[in-house]
């Protein structure tokens, strides 16, 4: 479903945000994309959804090249950015209507589809209000609903749980699972490692622009199990070199 080969992206001469990244996500899979702040997660996602052009490498979504045929590739993606910048002066309904227009969702289908999703995420009553009046969680929900209106096979979600209430967060996880069971694919980034551990079929860890580990959570645990049973968080801290020695922690906490 998603195939990124040898993808690199630099900002200026000094900053290499993504370095020769190889990544495959197969149908029926939830792929968790992890990494510390500034590791290159958002840049990777922006290249995947066609916002940024890679300097090198190729990207395919559902078998279509993002570089050669971006319009068709984008039609197969449902994308929710990490901070959904929505048009505050539009109402939720107007936003969804616009999204349906650009993705070519037929008029006869869109209302039924919208009502179903809006009811699921308890947004139906707010849909005629301006987005400017929404809370962060409501914005996240409307962005999420908008991204799924055209029923894309590939979901790309950048920190999708941030701002969502526990119910919506749970629902989203259920939807993700249901989507992959029907043959779709989900690529999502998160800092909540417990979520990744419980939800993902595979996880990839990016650090300083390089994909340093890709595996199923179980295999990763086996790989790092020399010193006993480890959580994904401990593995993450170990591979990204983020774990501080005990003495240093003690001196900082003084």
């Amino acid at each position: 479903m998603i195939k990124m080969s040898e993808v690199s992206k630099s900002y200026g001469r000094e900053v290499k945000a993504v370095d020769s990244l190889d990544l495959h996500v197969i149908p029926g899979e939830i792929f968790g994309f992890l990494g510390p702040n500034g590791a290159g997660k958002t840049t990777t996602i922006k290249m995947l959804v066609g916002i940024l052009q890679p300097d090198e490498g190729s990207i395919e979504v559902a078998g279509i090249s993002m570089l050669d045929n971006p319009i068709e590739a984008k039609k197969r993606i449902g994308y929710v950015p990490d901070e959904a910048q929505l048009w505050e002066k539009l109402t939720g309904a107007e936003y969804l209507d616009f999204v349906c227009d650009v993705y070519g969702v037929p008029g006869v289908r869109r209302e039924a589809e919208a009502v179903k999703m809006l009811e699921t995420f308890e947004m139906l009553r707010a849909v005629n209000d301006p987005i400017g009046s929404y809370s962060r969680g409501m914005r996240q929900k409307i962005a999420l609903i908008g991204s799924l209106m055209h029923r894309p096979p590939v979901w790309v979600l950048d920190e999708p749980m941030v701002g969502l209430d526990p119910r919506s967060s749970y629902l989203l996880k259920e939807l993700m699972r249901s989507h992959v069971e029907q043959g779709g694919a989900v690529f999502f980034s998160t800092h909540v490692l417990e979520v990744a551990e419980r939800l993902c079929d595979r996880v990839g860890i990016i650090h300083k622009g390089k994909l340093i580990a890709v595996n199923t959570v179980e295999e990763m645990k086996e790989l790092f199990a020399k010193e006993g049973d480890k959580s994904l968080e401990e593995i993450f801290l170990e591979v990204t070199g983020a774990k501080l020695p005990q003495e240093q922690l003690a001196s900082l906490a003084k």
Binding site: Y11, E14, A17, Y79, A93, E94, V102, G107, R110
Partner: protein
């Protein structure tokens, strides 16, 4: 119970491009946004509409006057066999309006818009996004230019007659914004490219400001040096039909072609004019969009994300040197200004406003500066110079925006000032000291100019500097008090804190009031023929006492206002 979803298309689909244009028009020109631009929030929307209605009513007399003026002018031009000149005036006025407003609209629609990332993630082609953005700006410009163009084109049609004129005039009007929008894009996009990345938006604005300054000087220079014809040439041109059109169009033939399209005389000339005018206008915009499309989309790439920098500065160096609270606060004031290009440019322009004025007046011609210099040099006593310079310094201190935006500049970081364990009055005093330092720099330039150009003697120079320092204090405190009263801390772009801060004008008016009292005192002394030394002493005492009183007020205001902000 099911809530009806309003505004949903229920049959068929819209073309993505038109859906984009429709959505952007809604976002840009919705009534709520207009009300918001007046500084009112959603809850006061009805007042905003009322305000807009009143503004529209207020424009009626002006519009009527403009129509009458245009009617007389076009009638005379038709009688003088120069109807094309009315078209030249209309198109030129319209296009200058677009240059004036269109550039900022393009900036906000393209560079400052926060939706570009999202639009790029949609299945839209880059040209669709760019044309969509330009189309929305174009629509707005059509409305704005209608105010200046319509009076001329409508009255010309009335005075010329002919049914063919009206559709052609509509076409000419519709094409007016294209050339200036094309040129504006050509200026904007390279600057966007050069300042790519959200962290350098402020640099972008500064560069654009400099481009504007250069354009204004160039325009003034050309205005003074070109298009100077002797009366013989003008009379000769006046004798031919539309002879003045070529003269007025000068090096910009688009105006001439637009005139031909409407008043060319014969059909062939009209058709040729229309073809050239439309061809150049539409062609230029298309050419510029296709040329700059790639730059535009690479220019807006967020260079700040995912940074893995090779060079890591030594973190300890910046915090190794301990400072006192007051010096730390003053240093913070300085850093906020020095590290924000927009603030820095505003402050530098304020500092150099006098030299810039003098230089620009020399560049663009005119004899105002030599006349002022002669008057001051020829004054009976140099005390006049001291008083004039003192007045100018007071005015400039009130205008300089350092004090009048001191709280506003903190913007979204103001919470930090409430958090730190430093009394608000101490924080305000730090701002006052920094403002005074800046005012002193202004005074140094002014006093230097007085000594150098106006041959001010030593004693009077000392008096000027001493009284200059004294006048800086109350004026700065007044400006600080005003900013403290209603600071603009909820800005999203730095320019809203300084250049776009209406309160700086209010602060200046308050400081003018204070200076007015000093002027009245001075006037009284001069009328009574009292000693000038006594005047200096009285002014000094007045300023010192009022400074003390105002400072006490500032202290107590800071303590009571800070917790509420």
């Amino acid at each position: 119970m099911t809530t009806a979803i309003r505004g949903f298309k229920r049959k068929g689909t819209r073309k993505p491009f038109w859906a984009l244009v429709r959505m952007q028009l809604k976002v840009r020109y919705n009534p709520g946004k207009l009300v918001e631009s007046l500084g009112m929030d959603e809850s006061k929307r009805q007042y905003g509409y009322l305000y807009l209605a009143l503004v529209a009513l207020a424009f009626i007399p002006f519009t009527v006057m403009l129509f009458r003026l245009a009617d007389s002018l076009t009638l005379e031009l038709v009688r003088a066999n120069q109807p094309g000149l009315a078209v030249v005036i209309a198109v030129l006025a319209g296009q200058l309006t677009v240059v004036l407003f269109g550039l900022s609209h393009l900036m906000s629609s393209m560079y400052y818009s926060s939706d570009l990332d999202q639009l790029q993630s949609f299945p839209l082609k880059p040209w669709q996004i760019m044309y969509g953005k330009v189309a929305v700006v174009y629509a707005g410009q059509l409305v704005i230019t209608a105010f200046v163009v319509a009076p001329f084109l409508i009255t010309l049609g009335k005075n010329l007659g002919g049914a063919v004129y009206w559709p052609l005039a509509l076409l000419v009007y519709l094409l007016i914004p294209l050339v200036p929008l094309g040129v504006s894009l050509l200026i904007l996009v390279p600057i966007m490219k050069a300042t790519a990345g959200s962290r350098r938006r402020d640099t972008f604005r500064v560069l654009l400001g400099l481009v504007f300054v250069v354009l204004i000087f160039a325009f003034q220079y050309l205005n003074n040096t070109m298009l100077r014809y002797g009366p013989e040439t003008l009379i000769a041109r006046l004798m031919e039909r539309d002879g003045l059109v070529s003269t007025a169009a000068g090096y910009y033939p688009v105006l001439k072609w637009a005139a031909w399209a409407l008043t060319g005389g014969d059909a062939a000339r009209q058709l040729l004019g229309l073809a050239l005018y439309a061809g150049v206008s539409v062609g230029l915009v298309n050419l510029v969009i296709s040329l700059t499309q790639g730059w535009f989309f690479s220019g807006i790439a967020p260079a700040s994300s995912g940074a893995t920098k090779k060079h890591v500065p030594r973190a300890g160096a910046a915090v190794a040197r301990p400072r006192g609270t007051m010096s730390a606060l003053i240093l913070r004031e300085h850093r906020i200004i020095a590290r924000t290009p927009n603030f820095l440019l505003t402050v530098l322009l304020n500092l150099l406003v006098l030299p810039i004025l003098v230089v620009s007046m020399y560049i663009t011609g005119g004899d105002a500066i030599p006349q002022i210099l002669q008057t001051l040099l020829g004054a009976k006593t140099k005390d006049v110079v001291v008083l004039v310079m003192l007045g100018i310094h007071g005015l400039f201190t009130g205008m300089n925006q350092v004090a009048s935006t001191a709280v506003s500049r903190e913007g979204p970081m103001f919470w930090m000032s409430k958090l730190i364990p430093v009394a608000p009055k101490v924080q305000m005093r730090a701002k006052l000291i920094y403002s005074l330092l800046f005012s002193l720099a202004q005074l140094a330039i002014l006093a230097g100019a007085a000594i150098w150009f106006l041959k001010l003697d030593f004693v009077r120079s000392v008096v000027l500097i001493a009284l200059g320092i004294l006048v800086s204090a109350p004026v700065s405190i007044i400006c600080l008090l005003n900013d403290l009263r209603s600071p603009k801390v909820n800005w999203t772009e730095p320019q809203q804190a300084m250049k776009g801060n209406f309160q700086t004008l209010v602060a200046w008016l308050f400081s003018l009031l204070y200076l007015g009292i000093l002027v009245l005192v001075t006037r009284g002394f001069l009328l009574l023929g009292l000693s000038i030394r006594l005047l200096y002493a009285v002014l000094g005492v007045l300023m010192a006492v009022s400074s003390y009183g105002l400072l006490t007020w500032l202290d107590s205001a800071a303590e009571s206002v800070y917790p509420k902000l």
